[in-house]
């Protein structure tokens, strides 16, 4: 195991709002090694974006309280001052956002939006910066980059705009690229192109990538490791193969069962499990997933389970008290296409614990 590029320990983010404090992230730890790809998966509101934004200090403006430790190249980003963070942003750590349509400034030419990022970190002339912008646009596969560099965002299609965003992120050869659901807002075919592009660039440039998505299928091919988030925590973390072969958390099971397939309409919503995510304002102190868990009767007590290794595998961590054998049995039933109720029955778990 090499030294991690990014090492996050017990990250907690609380956002004060008029209704009360939102505990958007409550104790997240993970690490990314140089050149590796981490996939972060979870349903909407599970805290993926907040986690990533707080890494770069971008949650500060919302008045969020961030605690824990975020080590990046020797500095702790949680306690770092604004200048240090600003120097990192867009340089060593770059970010791509969910919606390329709204993430580019509508009033400025894409070229100037890219060069602006370059000149914020590199002491280069306007001309040099522009040449670099053209080069980048070419790199991300935009045809006729010489001309397109002077176009405005609204003159690009959605997929092209995401390419522009990627070009912008790559401008300063980042060591770490955080891609926050880079394909969610795009057409299925375009999604595939962008993913392929990212995969190619990652391989060519050798940077580490954190890829956020609520679609496990998206990261299956590209990621080395996967972290599954639920209600502001990581509930399961494992190398991609392990996770697909031996998922341990009931929430992960749900996610795996609902990977959309290309033959289905794309906006079929992913509701892996019945029920709604818990309120992040008043945490119960119990297992946050318990109310939605079909197998809760078997595992959870009143305590919130800790993130513990599965068996002897130190790379596979799960936040569930269910015993291993029972888990394996339920998953194999589910993988065979049975419903959660049937699976529970097969494993001898009373379903009465399924609270709404």
């Amino acid at each position: 195991m090499t030294d991690p590029l990014l090492d996050v320990r017990d990250l907690r983010v609380t956002i004060p709002t008029e209704d009360g404090d939102v505990h958007a992230v409550s104790g997240v730890s993970f690490a990314v090694e140089p050149g590796k790809v981490l996939g972060v998966v979870g349903e909407s509101g599970s805290g993926k974006s907040v986690t990533m934004l707080s890494l770069m200090g971008l949650m500060r403006r919302a008045g969020a309280r961030v605690t824990g430790e975020v080590r990046f190249g020797g500095t702790d980003l949680v306690t770092a001052d604004d200048r240090t963070l600003r120097r990192l942003r867009g340089d060593d750590v770059a970010m791509i956002f969910q919606d390329p349509l709204s993430s580019l400034h509508p009033f400025y030419r894409v070229g100037s939006q890219i060069t602006e990022g370059i000149r914020a970190h590199r002491d280069v002339s306007r001309k040099q910066a522009k040449e670099r912008a053209i080069e980048l646009l070419g790199l991300v596969g935009i045809p006729r980059p010489h001309q397109r560099v002077d176009d405005y965002p609204h003159e690009f299609s959605g997929g092209m705009r995401q390419r522009v965003m990627i070009a912008m992120a790559l401008a300063n050869d980042p060591k770490l690229l955080i891609a926050d659901e880079p394909t969610t807002a795009l057409d299925v075919t375009v999604q595939a192109q962008i993913l392929a592009l990212l995969q190619r660039l990652q391989a060519e440039l050798g940077m580490a990538v954190v890829m956020i998505t609520h679609d496990l299928g998206v990261v299956a091919e590209i990621a080395d490791d996967i972290a599954v988030m639920y209600a502001g925590r990581i509930v399961e973390r494992a190398p991609v193969k392990t996770l697909f072969r031996q998922p341990r958390h009931p929430y992960t099971w749900g996610l795996l069962r609902s990977i959309p397939r290309l033959d289905l309409p794309r906006d079929v919503d992913l509701v892996p499990i019945e029920g709604r995510p818990p309120s992040l304002i008043h945490p119960t102190g119990r297992c946050a997933f318990q109310p939605r868990c079909a197998y809760a009767a078997r595992c959870c007590g009143t305590e919130d389970p800790a993130l513990t290794p599965v068996g002897s595998d130190p790379e596979h961590l799960v936040r569930c008290d269910m015993d291993e054998e029972q888990g394996t049995r339920i998953w194999s039933a589910l993988a065979a296409g049975e419903s959660p109720e049937q699976a529970a029955l097969a494993a001898g778990v009373p379903t009465t614990g399924t609270a709404a």
Partner: protein, 369 residues
């Protein structure tokens, strides 16, 4: 009065939109089919879409002004206000006398003839007729009062734009802070404080003759900028501030709301993620977007104010168009009403066009067509 006129003109413009479409088509062919056919491609290359747009809007403006003047004529004709001829002829005048006055005032002609005569005089001689009340030349009365109105409006506009936008930005950067609460509370007061009352208070505090401290000259001290810049400035500074106050308050609130909304936009997060300085993020990316609605409001407000600010002009005795038009309405003085309404409408429509053009310059997504 112009405050009332603005929505009317805007409504008119909207109601007449279908006509505008036809007119547009007509205007496009108006430069002559021959020319288009022969020189078409060259003309197209030489005349930018913006120029063509402006040309079309100008034609449209003339048309709107015609409609406005026609409406003013009709309203004056239809509503029971005084009979100008009888008013002019005096209380002891007999019918013959009134008839002769009617004749000289052109009032014995059918209304369309009066209207045609009126328009003809404007087009051919820039002659807007003369006041029923004082016999003063209307075009002269208006143009000679225009500098005062422009001085008042422009000075106030500079103040409210700078103050309003700055306060709005500072408030938006620290929402719910003490500063924010203080100035936004102040803004509410500023919006609701009546100009007349403010003016009286300011004069009672600072006026040369009866103020607590003798700081500003008495009302009526206005002199044209070209004549006496010092007197121009000292006589206008308080009217500017008072006129600007409510606008500044409105603009501060508008700017704050806009900027808060923009600061929440994804593209601002992008800018921040690029590692730009805070100032660059807020000013270049935030304010640039947040200011666009302000530009629209500013253009229209200024356009309306150029039609005259009745209260401020009256209290401080600034010889502007507002007071002229107010007096004219009270006295049923048609030529002056007509003249001031036309000028006010001109400014409002011109401001609209200008706003559209500026908007297109600011926002590349907007195309003039």
């Amino acid at each position: 009065m112009t405050r009332l006129l603005a929505p009317v003109v805007r409504l008119l413009a909207r109601l007449l939109a279908p006509v505008a479409a036809l007119w547009d088509r007509f205007a496009r062919t108006l430069p002559g089919r021959v020319v288009v056919r022969v020189f078409g491609p060259t003309v197209r290359r030489l005349v930018s879409p913006t120029a063509r747009y402006i040309y079309r809007r100008l034609v449209w403006m003339v048309f709107l002004l015609l409609v406005v003047s026609m409406l003013a004529f009709l309203i004056f004709y239809a509503l029971p206000s005084g009979d100008p001829a009888a008013q002019r002829a005096g209380k002891g005048a007999d019918q013959a006398q009134i008839d002769r006055v009617k004749h000289t005032l052109f009032l014995d002609r059918p209304i369309y003839e009066q209207y045609f005569h009126y328009i003809k005089q404007i087009v051919l001689h820039f002659d807007f007729g003369f006041s029923y009340d004082t016999n003063a030349d209307v075009a002269h009365a208006i143009t000679s009062r225009l500098p005062a109105t422009i001085s008042l409006a422009a000075g106030a506009a500079v103040i409210w734009l700078i103050v309003g936008v700055l306060i709005g930005i500072l408030s938006a950067l620290r929402p719910r802070s003490f500063f924010d609460r203080l100035v936004m509370g102040g803004a509410l007061l500023g919006i609701s404080a009546p100009v007349y009352w403010l003016a009286l208070v300011a004069l009672a505090l600072f006026s040369q003759s009866y103020g607590v401290i003798h700081l500003i000259p008495d009302t009526g001290a206005y002199r044209p900028l070209t004549e006496d810049p010092g007197a121009w400035f000292t006589s206008l500074i308080v009217p500017w501030c008072i006129l600007a106050l409510s606008f500044a308050a409105i603009y501060a609130r508008l700017m704050r709301a806009n900027l808060l909304e923009v600061l929440d936009q994804d593209y601002l997060r992008t800018a921040e993620a690029k590692g730009l300085s805070r100032r660059r993020v807020v000013v270049r990316h935030g304010v640039r977007s947040a200011i666009t609605p302000i530009v629209t409001a500013f253009g229209l407000d200024l356009g309306i104010l150029l039609g005259g600010a009745v209260l401020t002009e009256s209290v401080f005795n600034i010889p502007g168009i507002g007071r002229l038009s107010y007096d004219a309405i009270v006295a049923s003085n048609l030529p002056v009403i007509q003249g001031t309404v036309l000028f006010a409408a001109f400014f409002i429509i011109a401001a609209n066009i200008l706003v559209d053009i500026v908007y297109a310059l600011i926002d590349p997504r907007v195309r003039l067509a």
